[in-house]
Symmetry: C2
Subunit: 321 residues, 2 copies
């Protein structure tokens, strides 16, 4: 039995406490809007990756860079707030989205405030200045890439010919680079050398892509009672996920599922995709990415934290919600 | 005759060239949207303040920090793109706004891309790492404050009892802090000491507030042929500017001007405000701010650049468009 669940729980407690102090307890309506989604929970996976990466290169260093762990969660939350406006999503993490509870302008500004504060918190770590500068660069590059990924994702809505390569590039930018930045920033602020930083960056990138692929599988496979989300919404909306792309390559016609689906119809779709080998192939792509990311970690000295990072990768592709 | 016009012209040329290379010439639709407003011109006043501040503390240092001068223009442009969405403005700098030419999601993302790139460009300067970290902090704090200022400005739309203090606080955050950051970042990256950085920061803050007050005067006084903007739009919309607040304090009723106004009616309003002493008082607040900002500069050694900074302050409150 891995120590990961209890480790993640302790990270979440630490980050939640920092969020309460640095965001929730601030006066003013815009600060309230900025803190709203941040305080609505979440697994705090990116902060955990920051802290594990720091400790994997220098044992005990994560205590000095908690502010950077927080910064990654803040960055992630800013992208969610802006994405929710673009997609006009109404609920997230069980609460109304910021632009729903307030309004669109406040949603834009709430995200923009968090964006700035992420960079401030990176600079608050007890690290050397050259490491902070590298961390700022890494975070900024990740943010620009995330925008590109979101733009690409939206452009896919008008297409039905998205290729596997295009999908993986979109996911790399939309989800992968922030996990890459989490691991890379943890490593650089923790005092890692160039090789270690690069290895952890690539670990984060691959596991991040795998994380998103697993998300697509969960959408199809996990009942709403368990996931808290509509089952098979991607299928119903004809969204270009890796599952849909692989199915198209195999000549499957999934258009018939683009309607309100009964549980029996969802099961029929799952059976069709399983029988054609689509789900196996998609799962294999995710598990190959995680295996590859573990190879990156092999240059690090063995440690409890290195093992926990491998457990994170494994968790990403085995979770069912 | 001041050297300022020719200095500003040379800065604008430099910055325009950097924008062409680093933004306009990038492939991809989102990059095009990000570059659109940036490439549409502008006086490049904030980059000029960055460069003059650097040279005022260390002669010749501005050559090493051109990337930071660009970063301030990029930051300013990101705030304009997002503001235009919130206010649903259609035109800016003679071109359609980003969300008008593309769409709202692309506008949000285009602003978010510039936001990230501003921090990247700060890190690209030839400065010491500790200076870069301080500059990143200053820029991040300015961005958070600008959001607060824009939020406050929007909240004024539903009120008719805004006080002079509230107005000045809003303008400090919405416009002042970015000029403050421009001067402070120039000073810190140029190698200025703590006193010099503080003095230049305060210089930028005061002149930035004066800049905005002058903008309100221009809105009222400058004909559309000259300013490129609708004359007296603030008056027509009942916007809570310092002019309106002072007029209210004096018991003037400007509600009668909240309609489409003929040139004769605009002139009548100007006469009413002049006769009551409102315009003089508003102009005095702006010129006092500039006088105070010049006092901040007095701790710097005399130099051509220090004089040009004073000329910038003077220009801010004497320009008619």
């Amino acid at each position: 039995m891995s120590d990961l669940p209890s480790y993640l729980e302790s990270v979440a407690k630490t980050i939640d406490r920092m969020i309460d102090r640095d965001f929730v307890d601030k006066a003013g309506e815009l600060n309230k809007a900025s803190a709203h989604l941040l305080a609505a929970g979440g697994k705090r996976l990116r902060p955990a990756v920051v802290m594990l990466s720091a400790d994997a290169v220098t044992p005990g260093s994560s205590d000095e860079i908690l502010q950077a762990a927080l910064a990654l969660e803040v960055t992630h939350t800013f992208t969610l707030i802006h994405d929710d406006i673009m997609d006009d999503d109404r609920m997230r993490r069980g609460v109304p989205t910021v632009h729903t509870k307030w309004d669109m302008p406040t949603g834009i500004l709430a995200g923009d405030v968090l964006y700035a504060r992420a960079f401030e918190h990176i600079c608050m770590t007890n690290s050397k200045d050259d490491a902070k500068v590298r961390a700022v660069k890494m975070l900024a590059r990740a943010c620009a890439d995330i925008c590109e990924g979101q733009h690409m994702d939206m452009s896919f809505e008008h297409r039905s010919d998205v290729t596997e390569g295009e999908y993986l590039e979109m996911v790399r930018m939309k989800t992968g680079v922030l996990y890459a930045a989490a691991a890379g920033i943890g490593a650089v602020l923790g005092g890692g050398n160039v090789m270690q930083v690069k290895a952890l960056y690539n670990f984060g990138l691959n596991t991040g892509i795998a994380f998103q692929i697993q998300d697509d599988l969960i959408d199809l496979l996990t009942p709403a009672e368990k996931s808290g989300k509509d089952q098979a919404s991607d299928l119903r909306e004809g969204k270009q996920t890796l599952i849909m792309i692989k199915a198209r390559e195999k000549g499957l016609d999934l258009k018939k599922y683009q309607k309100d689906l009964s549980p029996a119809e969802i099961n029929a779709a799952i059976k069709e995709l399983t029988d054609a080998g689509v789900l196996d192939e998609v799962q294999k792509i995710a598990s190959d990415l995680v295996a590859d990311s573990n190879r990156h970690l092999s240059i690090l000295p063995p440690s409890k934290e290195r093992q926990l990072l491998m457990d994170v990768g494994e968790f990403f592709i085995t979770r069912s919600y």
